[in-house]
Amino acid sequence: MEKHTLQLTESTSDDSRLRAFFKALSKQKMLMLMSLPFLAWVIIFKYVPLWGWTIAFQKYRLGRDIFDQAWTGLDNFKFLFQEEQFYLVLRNTLVMSSINLVLGFVTAIILALLLNELRRIYFKRTVQTISYLPHFISWVVAANIVQTALAPEGIFNVLLLQFNIIDKPILWLGVGEYFWSILGVTEVWKNVGWNTIIYLAAITTIDPTQYEAAEIDGASRIQRMLHITLPGMKPVIVILLIMNLGHILESGFEPQYLLGNGMNVEYSENLDIFVLKYGIQMNNYGLATAAGMFKTVVSFIFLIAANNLAKRLGENRLY
């Protein structure tokens, strides 16, 4: 009896909560108008094409509709997870994207802090404009420059020989162990200026009176950077970090493909190249889709974990 009433009250409270929800929502017509058309857009353009995930369970043949396809169950996933090579490329992918993530964040934040400390406005603008130029160069060109610089007679070896750091030229791209570092530095070189832009925008929102106050208190430059500028950038940093953790299996494709060769293949080959070789080039759309689904699952795990961690630490959250 008592149990029954309890259930009853619970359901009414549920009902009233729902009612309250809709009542509140009905007052938010403008907000709904500002967001729901885009919700429709995202469903059409992003969610509807998800029917394509069925391809992962098929031996997909182009130009036939879904009923004419041969269903293969989990075969594509089995091929993926039973392939020895898969675990090697997974390792490479994780290492390279972690390096890119850490280096990318640290260098862009430091550069933003340093740029903010430049006093001559024209110099500051010049540095900023030039530093983001490599972003506009295609990877083919960038890789070519890196390969030239790292050649046995390239500038890098010449300088190291000059300063007696090495005694004979090193074939940098021929030593697998160096590949991750080379890639990390290359990515920084190409993108650090570009990545800085968003932090510079974040710095503009910092209240200038804070700096004035700090100056009166006699804070040094470094102290101001660490205690005013950096905290001012923190919300953006946290949000970007969470988002990028979701991309942990995206280590890039072109740089690895272009800088990779037989001598460093055990370090340079990543998931995307593996999928290109065994999926796309062999027209195995099923395998490519299965790999994509695997990446999505991993992404979600990282994304949700990072977001929850941020929540627990009381930081800004993604959602």
Partner: protein, 302 residues
């Protein structure tokens, strides 16, 4: 005012810091400017001579032939117009729509805030694949149209998050007082939020503009047979791919016959790097002022 006070208080440590900072910046300028100088030198160097390598800072055998080759394709100028059009239209529409959505999901009282946010955020981490995407565009009747450049990209989720976090950083009081004055959400968004988030909007505009300007894959997929919708990047891709002789069977014969190439992929690529990136790089200085000195919030306060 600010300048004099900081000059007065700068200590020895600060001076050392400044010197190191300037030295570092000059180093940065050198390494990041180099690729462009190199492309410039290659694009003005005779293609056949470039095969010998060792072109770094300056052309060895000057020529305008690479540029002639690129601009000879009559469609290049028209395609530049299309690129500019998609960049301008695409950026305006996308930034407006994205920031509007960002405003809606930044409102703490909005009941669907979380649902809408998550629905969008998740899409950053999956894709239905190339073929389903293509079929969707086809079913929507958007093949061979200009709008295929604009509509599939009206919301950038990353950009939405960036703008949202800027809006959330605004002092809540400003929006509260707008509400007090009887302003609705749309008015608040247009009159208050947009002007106050100019640095974020400038940043996002740059992202969208660069994305739009550099895109060629959507042209390749959806509009490759419509010459009047071709973009600069796509035309340059065409020019590059046809400069790559020596791969087709027919060319093997020509190659074997001592046929010295007027252009090579390397030279054409250098030239197209310059041609394609100079216009978009010009955009930056115009947007730059919005994020070099923001201080909008302070201004409002004062």
């Amino acid at each position: 005012m600010l300048k004099t006070s900081s000059a007065r208080s700068s200590s020895v440590g600060d001076k050392i810091f400044d010197i190191c900072n300037y030295i570092f910046m000059i180093f940065l300028i050198i390494v990041t400017l180099y690729p462009f100088i190199n492309m410039f030198a290659l694009s003005f160097n005779d293609a056949n001579d470039s095969i010998r390598g060792d072109i770094y800072f300056w052309p060895r055998e000057w020529t305008f032939r690479n540029y002639e080759y690129v601009f000879n394709e009559s469609n290049v100028f028209y395609a530049t117009f299309i690129s500019a059009a998609r960049t301008i239209v695409g950026t305006i529409i996308s930034v407006f729509c994205t920031s509007m959505l960002a405003y809606a999901i930044s409102r703490p009282e909005y009941k669907l805030k979380k649902f809408v946010s998550i629905t969008f955020i998740f899409t950053m981490y999956f894709s239905g694949g190339l073929i389903p995407g293509y079929l969707l565009i086809k079913e929507l009747g958007m093949l061979n149209s200009f709008w295929v450049y604009i509509i599939p990209g009206i919301i950038g989720v990353f950009n939405m998050i960036v703008i949202r976090s800027f809006i959330e950083g605004l002092p809540e009081g400003i929006m509260e007082s707008a509400k007090m004055d009887g302003a609705g959400d749309l008015t608040t968004f247009i009159r208050i939020v947009l002007p106050l988030t100019v640095p974020a909007l400038a940043t996002v505009s740059l992202f969208v503009a660069v994305y739009q300007w550099n895109s060629w894959f959507d042209v390749f997929l959806y509009n490759s047979s419509r010459h009047n919708l071709s973009t600069l990047q796509y035309e340059l891709m065409k020019i590059l791919s046809t400069s790559n002789t020596g791969t087709s069977a027919a060319d093997q014969y020509a190659n074997a016959q001592g046929n010295v190439q007027m252009v090579t992929p390397t030279s054409v690529r250098a030239t197209m790097t310059i041609v394609a990136s100079v216009p978009i790089i010009m955009v930056y200085p115009f947007l730059q002022k919005y994020f070099v000195k923001g201080m909008v919030v302070g201004g409002v306060k004062g």
